[in-house]
């Protein structure tokens, strides 16, 4: 998770810049071919004093976080450095290069080192403060007698002034152009350049030149970003949890259905069908709405499953009462739904309201819980009120007094046997 630094930016422009940022990161991530990356812009809500803009990057299948982080954060670092033979300056150059952590330096262009690899220690360059930060555009051009590919860059106003100043003060010296710590070329400054454009030449072929100019353009992130947190879920852990979760889910559901059937008999079976369809609908919704089924989502799912069972239980208990009091099974089912409705309604509405509030206020994890919970409530109401009802009403209509197998199957629970004795 990254945090964007939005200081000094018009708040109205922030959302747009964040979207540009998201696109830039998206392109960068896509370059290394991660399957289904999820990149979202998130805003910490108004509750905290200083709203921060966040960028959440999820990369399934990437095992090496440090590599991924390095790739994402890879703004090609373009630097301009002055060649100097002063020993003290060399010392400075050494330190600044050392901090870049570049291990191999390939030298291209017109520096007199004969293309040999040299260690950063030997590079006699000093920082000028001019970097790719001041870059405005980068594009491929051709130049020289051989029409070599090169990249033409132009600076923004600030960079233009800086560039002009450097070139004015150091006429006759070599200006090294470094990309990610690698010296690309070191042209001699012949005259002050005030136009704010420069050409990076090197041994590029067309593809390299294009890739570089793209990287440089993409590299100019609209906002500086800072890595705030990383979370690695090991493949084995993810798979393990999923595996356990499915096992637990299947066993849990079977226990629930078994209990419902043994207690409510035929209606219990109907409840089982209704619960399975509830789960099927939820799974289908998870496919449509991009909810990552995290632990938070799991909590919401378990709870809404409980609510789905509860709605069935409420109806069956009412139905049982009516059936015992002499209504036919179909009439008992109808009035069971009617009379259980107020309890189902109030229970579900309070839950739904809670889910909405949690979604409103919550951090992303709480939001996940609230979303799944809210969806679960709506679907569970549908499954209980439509599926269970339709199936129950479709069952054969019997009266308790008539007895027989169907009556036994419909009269549910221990209580019904007692009642049966009474009516007989």
């Amino acid at each position: 998770m990254y945090v964007a630094d939005t200081t000094g930016i018009d708040p109205l422009e922030v959302p747009e810049l964040m979207n540009v940022l998201r696109e830039v990161i998206d392109r960068r991530v896509n370059i290394f071919g991660v399957s289904e990356p999820i990149i979202q812009v998130e805003r910490s809500s108004f509750v905290t004093e200083n709203p921060t803009e966040r960028l959440v990057v999820e990369l399934p299948g990437v095992t090496d976080v440090s590599e991924a982080v390095a790739e994402i954060g890879r703004t090609p670092l373009l630097e301009f450095k002055l060649y100097s033979q002063n020993l003290e300056d060399q010392q400075v150059a050494l330190e600044s290069l050392g901090s870049l952590g570049s291990t191999s330096v390939a030298v291209v262009g017109d520096v007199a080192v004969d293309g040999e690899e040299i260690s950063p220690d030997e590079l006699p360059f000093v920082d000028t403060g001019l970097t790719g930060r001041y870059l405005e555009t980068a594009q491929v051009t051709q130049q020289g007698p051989l029409n070599e590919y090169a990249i033409q860059i132009s600076f923004n106003n600030e960079g233009k002034d800086l560039f002009a100043e450097i070139t004015r003060e150091h006429v006759g010296k070599q200006l090294g152009i470094f990309l990610d710590g690698v010296l690309l070329s070191a042209p001699v400054i012949n005259e002050p350049i005030v136009g704010g454009t420069a050409v990076i030449s090197g041994d590029f072929d067309l593809e390299e030149a294009q890739a570089l100019s793209q990287n440089l353009s993409f590299g100019a992130l609209p906002l500086p970003i800072e890595l705030q947190s990383t979370q690695t879920i090991g493949a084995s852990l993810g798979a393990g949890v999923l595996d356990h979760g499915i096992k637990a889910g299947v066993l849990g559901l079977s226990l629930v259905i078994l209990f419902m059937i043994s207690w409510y008999r035929l209606p219990g079976l109907v409840a089982g069908v209704s619960l399975i369809s509830y789960i099927t609908i939820m799974m289908a919704l998870f496919q449509i709405i991009p909810v990552t089924l995290t632990a938070a989502g799991l909590a919401g799912f378990v709870l809404s499953l409980g609510m789905a069972v509860d709605a069935n239980v409420l109806v069956f208990e009412r139905m049982k009462e009516e059936f015992r009091n002499g209504s036919s099974s179909r009439a008992a089912a109808q009035s069971g739904f009617r009379r259980a409705w107020s309890a189902i309604r109030d229970g579900n509405i309070t839950s739904l309201l809670s889910a909405i509030i949690l979604f409103w206020f919550g951090t992303s994890l709480v939001k996940g819980f609230a979303l799944v919970f809210g969806m679960g409530i709506l679907v569970s109401m549908f499954s209980a009120l439509v599926i269970t009802r339709t199936l129950l009403v479709a069952l054969p209509d019997v009266h308790m007094e008539k007895g027989g197998l169907l009556s036994l199957l419909l009269g549910s629970g221990l209580g019904s046997n007692k009642a049966k004795k009474k009516t007989n």
Binding site: T52, V302, R339, A343, L353, T363
Partner: protein
């Protein structure tokens, strides 16, 4: 109905349980995980694990400030160590993982989580607001849905009691977590907050189902009186109700009639949660335990606290009104 006839004892038990829970939480405290404090959590699994002391020494070499090491079992069954440190940057992370994986045979970093202190703080702030919002909306909705319930107590009472019961149901799992933190070093994390939110939803639903039956029984067992008065040219109709049965009997019947539903629903939920506890793996184990405690507390409280409390309140209110009448 036993819950109503023995209401004094039940309410005293509830008060004792709640006080004990509060004391437990206050004295033992809650071990806050990195979700709240910010920091990094690294899980390293081994074929043959080094001792906890070895790892502690190795981590201390890095001079990260405070750190703690806890033994655990990784999800696929290997023995593992959980290392908690301050918020690590990338360099430190690489250093730490190479350091600890070399300690034992087949060392592998199986989990790494790093959370900046800002997120932890935001989570705390927001959780507070969210809970406040949820509680307010529940009181308002219950008061609205039970409006016109009339004698002997107003709909606001039902809303208020729903919240009291809710506090009871949330306190018990929290106290359990506090004990677990003290004895086993279990830390509270986002999952714990999720479990509490689920308990909250469950508790309210349970209480509302019982109160719904009370509402229905009140409507069935009352006679309506309408009286019209003319006041400054406006006709005002007042409806008063007289209950045909004592209030405590009506509430008692409601509890009796919803008893089967309360027990059945919680039994099914408990069955599902047990499956999650035993098969769900280590990650969701604490989560399902907290939910189990919450569901048990929720079922108990909807039967043995909510209804006795509403009867006791009605009784207290009646006494107070009687006194007022006598004074006049």
């Amino acid at each position: 109905m036993f819950a109503i006839t023995h209401r004094k004892i039940l309410l005293i038990i509830a008060a004792v349980v709640m006080t004990t829970s509060i004391l437990l939480i206050a004295i033992l405290g809650l071990k806050q995980g990195i979700d709240f404090t910010g920091g990094s959590l690294t899980e390293v699994a081994y074929e043959t694990a080094p001792t906890k002391e070895q790892v502690e020494e190795a981590v201390a070499v890095m001079e990260l400030g405070g750190s703690s090491v806890r033994e655990s079992i990784e999800d696929s069954g290997r023995s593992a160590l959980l290392i908690r440190t301050k918020d690590l940057n990338e360099e430190q992370r690489v250093q730490l993982s190479s350091l600890v994986t070399s300690l034992g045979e087949g060392g592998e970093v199986t989990r790494f989580t790093s959370i900046g202190p800002v997120i932890g703080k935001e989570l705390k702030d927001k959780s507070g607001w969210a809970v406040f919002g949820v509680v307010s909306i529940i009181v308002l909705y219950v008061a609205f849905a039970f409006a016109g319930i009339g004698t002997p107590v107003s709909s606001w009472t039902y809303g208020g009691i729903t919240i009291l019961v809710l506090i009871h149901d949330v306190l018990i799992p929290t106290a359990l977590m506090s004990v677990l933190g003290y004895t086993l070093g279990v830390e509270i994390d986002v999952l714990f907050v999720m479990a509490l939110l689920a308990v909250l939803g469950y508790s309210v639903n349970d209480t509302i189902v019982v109160f719904d039956r009370v509402r229905e029984n009140l409507q069935l067992n009352r006679t309506e009186h309408r009286s019209k008065t003319t006041e400054v040219g406006m006709v005002k109709e007042e409806i008063t109700y007289t209950l045909t049965k004592p209030y405590e009997e009506i509430v008692g019947n409601a509890v009796q009639e919803t008893l089967a539903r309360s027990i059945n629903t919680s039994l099914t939920t408990i069955a599902a949660l047990c499956a999650l506890y035993f098969l769900g793996g280590e990650v969701t184990q604490t989560f399902s335990l907290i939910l189990l405690a919450g569901v048990l507390a929720g079922t108990y409280s909807s039967i043995c606290i909510a209804s006795p409390l509403v009867v006791a309140y009605a009784e207290w209110k009646a006494k107070k009104e009687k006194k007022l009448v006598e004074q006049k």
